[in-house]
């Protein structure tokens, strides 16, 4: 089956309905909708559509865990313990086979889980849980179901290289950031088009129009980079796409906060929630600013390892 524009629109509308109907548990909706089948048909489209829609609705689900379970071919699902950059990753507890892992789960409280999925020694592994310390995640994840915790357990099944999970997850997070940015632009554009000051719509001022135009440019730029990264299926490109999406969300958020005025900074307005969610997603699996520095360091290192600029050491994303 080819995903043409018409099918794409249908899929997106159905996803939006499914997410809106059960904003906190979408596993059943995704199963009914046969999202898994879509993954086999066109993985890039399946991921992009689901996570852009999730972002647009500002939904807080474990769609990422479900998506990864689908890719890994798991029947049931176990919560993934997603590493945050400040955490150290899996630590061997003295040769006993028991490891200690720190990270974040998106929905399921850790202390209810018998087993989790986590990166151990560069592999995605099923880990039988023996003990858990957990705390609800606050800060910019306030109000979400995210839990931060430390798990001790024994790896039972090796499900493949962690990087295969990581690059897909990065692209999923990137698309969710794009969806959030899209929603923020729509919210801000609606508000400044309706609200009038000095006898005219706020949006009729060039300074306001330019901010929203720049926000839009950022969003579609990140969206294009995500598409190119799916074309390549290379871990590096996925990292670039997530960084670009994180930066885009940041620019979009700041422009929107400015043009929406005071109401946009009150907690009753939807904007702060969409901004917080984006910051939390940006932090997961490496923030944009960290990525930027890492990319710069890598480019200099690559250049030192090639003879001259005629040797195209820096692999560019995508193909025409």
């Amino acid at each position: 089956m080819m995903i043409d524009d018409e099918i794409a629109t249908l899929v997106r509308n159905s996803l939006r309905e499914a997410l809106a109907g059960s904003p906190n548990d979408i596993s059943e909706a995704l199963a009914q909708f046969d999202w898994q089948e879509l993954v086999y048909t066109d993985e890039g489209f399946a991921f992009t559509a689901l996570f852009e829609e999730q972002g647009y609705l500002g939904a807080d689900t474990d769609a990422l865990d479900i998506a990864i379970a689908t890719v890994l071919g798991l029947d049931g699902r176990a919560p993934v313990l997603w590493p945050l950059p400040a955490y150290t990753g899996a630590e061997d507890m003295g040769g006993s086979g028991v490891v200690m892992i720190e990270g974040v789960t998106l929905r399921d409280p850790l202390n209810a889980a018998k087993s989790i999925l986590a990166p151990v020694a560069g592999r995605i592994q099923m880990v039988a849980v023996s003990s858990v310390e957990q705390v609800a995640l606050g800060g910019m994840a306030r109000g979400s179901t995210w839990v931060r915790g430390r798990v001790c357990g024994t790896p039972t099944t090796d499900l493949g290289p962690w990087c295969d999970v990581e690059w897909r997850a990065r692209l999923a997070l990137a698309s969710e950031l794009v969806g959030l940015a899209h929603r923020i632009i729509d919210l801000a554009a609606d508000q400044v088009s309706v609200r009038r000051q000095f006898g005219r719509a706020i949006a009729s001022n060039q300074a306001v129009r330019f901010r929203l135009a720049e926000a839009y440019v950022e969003m579609v730029g990140a969206q294009a980079l995500i598409a190119a990264a799916w074309q390549d299926r290379l871990p590096a490109a996925a990292g670039w796409a997530k960084a670009a999406a994180g930066l885009a969300h940041d620019v979009v958020a700041k422009h929107a906060i400015q043009v929406c005025g005071a109401i946009g900074l009150s907690d009753e307005h939807p904007l702060p929630g969409l901004v917080r969610r984006g910051m939390a997603l940006d932090a997961l699996l490496g923030s944009a600013l960290n990525q930027q520095l890492r990319i710069g360091k890598e480019l200099f290192a690559q250049q030192r390892n090639t003879e001259s600029s005629q040797e195209a050491a820096c692999l560019a994303v995508g193909r025409f």
């Binding site: 632009i185 554009a189 400044v192 088009s193 006898g199 005219r200 719509a201 949006a203 009729s204 001022n205 060039q206 306001v208 129009r209 330019f210 929203l212 135009a213 720049e214 839009y216 440019v217 579609v220 730029g221 990140a222 294009a224 980079l225 598409a227 190119a228 990264a229 074309q231 490109a237 670039w240 960084a243 670009a244 930066l247 600013l289 990525q291 930027q292 520095l293 890492r294 990319i295 710069g296 360091k297 480019l299 200099f300 690559q302 250049q303 030192r304 001259s308 600029s309 005629q310 040797e311 195209a312 050491a313 820096c314 560019a316 994303v317 995508g318 193909r319 025409f320």
Partner: protein, 386 residues
């Protein structure tokens, strides 16, 4: 050799792989030392184009009526991409080719068949002369007169900021054939030979010190009426099609070249003196470059499919200017880049000045933002919103 290439024409991946291998084997003979002198620079580009046309690689992407092998915009973008991947700069004439050729093929196939092969094969350089002293971003206010008189169009007026116009054999121009108030309705596109009596050109020195552009004066210039591109008063449609390629394909060409420049910059900078500020700036520039590249891939795909690329080309233009400025800003501010005084940094200074022009020509950044605000976001504007 050329027949083998012709067989590849329809599969972009095959074409890319074969071209990459061929360029790898030939690039040492193809790379010219950088020429500061503009006429030398243009001549080098024509020689490269001619070589690649003769070898057959450049014929891919162009219709057989022009001596091409078939294929389309994706093949051409691949050609530009692979040149730069191999360390070879895209000839400047290719920038004119992409702006002029698609519109000429569409609106004046006969003129195209007669004249375009000379441009494509690297026999002649052409330029696009749109801007006037009183018509920059507001192109529809142009005033160069074109009076249709029997079999001729008599042209009087002035064009300015024409890139490499003083080195071009022909100019694609827009003239006013309607009344002064007719705005975009009364404009006609003409292909004018620069050796026609009454055409006078004067190079303009760019801020970098290079004679990058020219101004052209038309005094009673008689242009055969069959040099009209599209009908009389149809020039705006011609210009709009040209702008689709100028904003879409230009970004594809430019990002390829910027990828090469960024690699050269990494080579130029003293790694021992580089700190995390410069590393982060290079990382940021790289991300912006990959973003415009990804966007260009989408837009070229649409051009290739024959779709009309309208306001969605505006983000490409904004992203391109941003990436180009970011890269040359690294060249300027990185520790010990020698940017301000060193002889060896002349090319980086020239590039920096040019990068500042990328958010001005072809519709300024402000025009692009207005297009996005109006046509995409549909925000009220200052007149509608009152």
């Amino acid at each position: 050799m050329t027949t083998d290439i012709q067989a590849l024409a329809l599969d972009v991946d095959d074409y890319r792989n074969a071209l990459r291998i061929w360029l790898h084997g030939h690039r040492d003979e193809l790379i010219e030392p950088h020429a500061v002198d503009r006429s030398q620079h243009i001549a080098n580009g024509l020689r490269l184009t001619s070589t690649l046309w003769q070898a057959g690689w450049k014929r891919v992407g162009w219709p057989t009526t022009l001596g091409g092998f078939g294929g389309g915009p994706r093949h051409r973008a691949t050609y530009y991409d692979e040149l730069c991947q191999a360390g070879i700069e895209i000839p400047d004439t290719d920038l004119s080719i992409e702006v002029i050729a698609p519109a000429m093929l569409h609106f004046a196939p006969d003129v195209a068949t007669t004249y375009l092969p000379r441009l494509l094969a690297g026999e002649e350089a052409w330029a696009q002369a749109f801007s006037e002293p009183e018509a920059g971003s507001d192109l529809a206010s142009l005033r160069t007169r074109g009076v249709i008189n029997g079999n001729e169009v008599v042209v009087d007026g002035q064009k300015v900021w024409t890139s490499h116009g003083h080195l071009a054999a022909r100019l694609l121009t827009l003239v006013r054939t309607g009344t002064a108030e007719s705005r975009h309705r009364g404009i006609t596109a003409l292909l004018i030979d620069t050796d026609t009596p009454g055409v006078a050109r004067r190079p303009l020195i760019f801020a970098s010190g290079i004679d990058e552009m020219c101004e052209t004066f038309f005094d009673d210039v008689r242009v055969p009426i069959d040099r009209m591109i599209g009908g009389a008063d149809q020039g705006w449609s011609v210009a709009m099609l040209m702008l689709q390629f100028e904003r879409g394909m230009y970004a594809a060409q430019r990002q390829a070249w910027l990828g090469l420049r960024l690699r050269q910059l990494l080579e130029h900078l003293d790694h021992a003196a580089i700190g995390e500020v410069a590393e982060a700036a290079v990382g940021a520039a790289w991300l912006q470059l990959q973003t415009v590249r990804a966007r260009a891939i989408q837009t070229v795909g649409r051009l290739d499919a024959g779709a009309v690329v309208g306001p969605e080309a505006s983000p490409d233009k904004v992203l391109l200017a941003r990436a180009e400025q970011a890269i040359f800003e690294v060249a300027r501010v990185a520790e010990h880049s020698g940017f301000v005084f060193d002889e060896a940094a002349e090319d980086w200074r020239a590039g920096w000045w040019y990068s500042r022009a990328t958010s001005i020509f072809g519709g300024s950044g402000e025009i692009q933002r207005s297009i996005v605000a109006d046509k995409v976001l549909k925000l009220p504007n200052e007149t509608r919103g009152a």
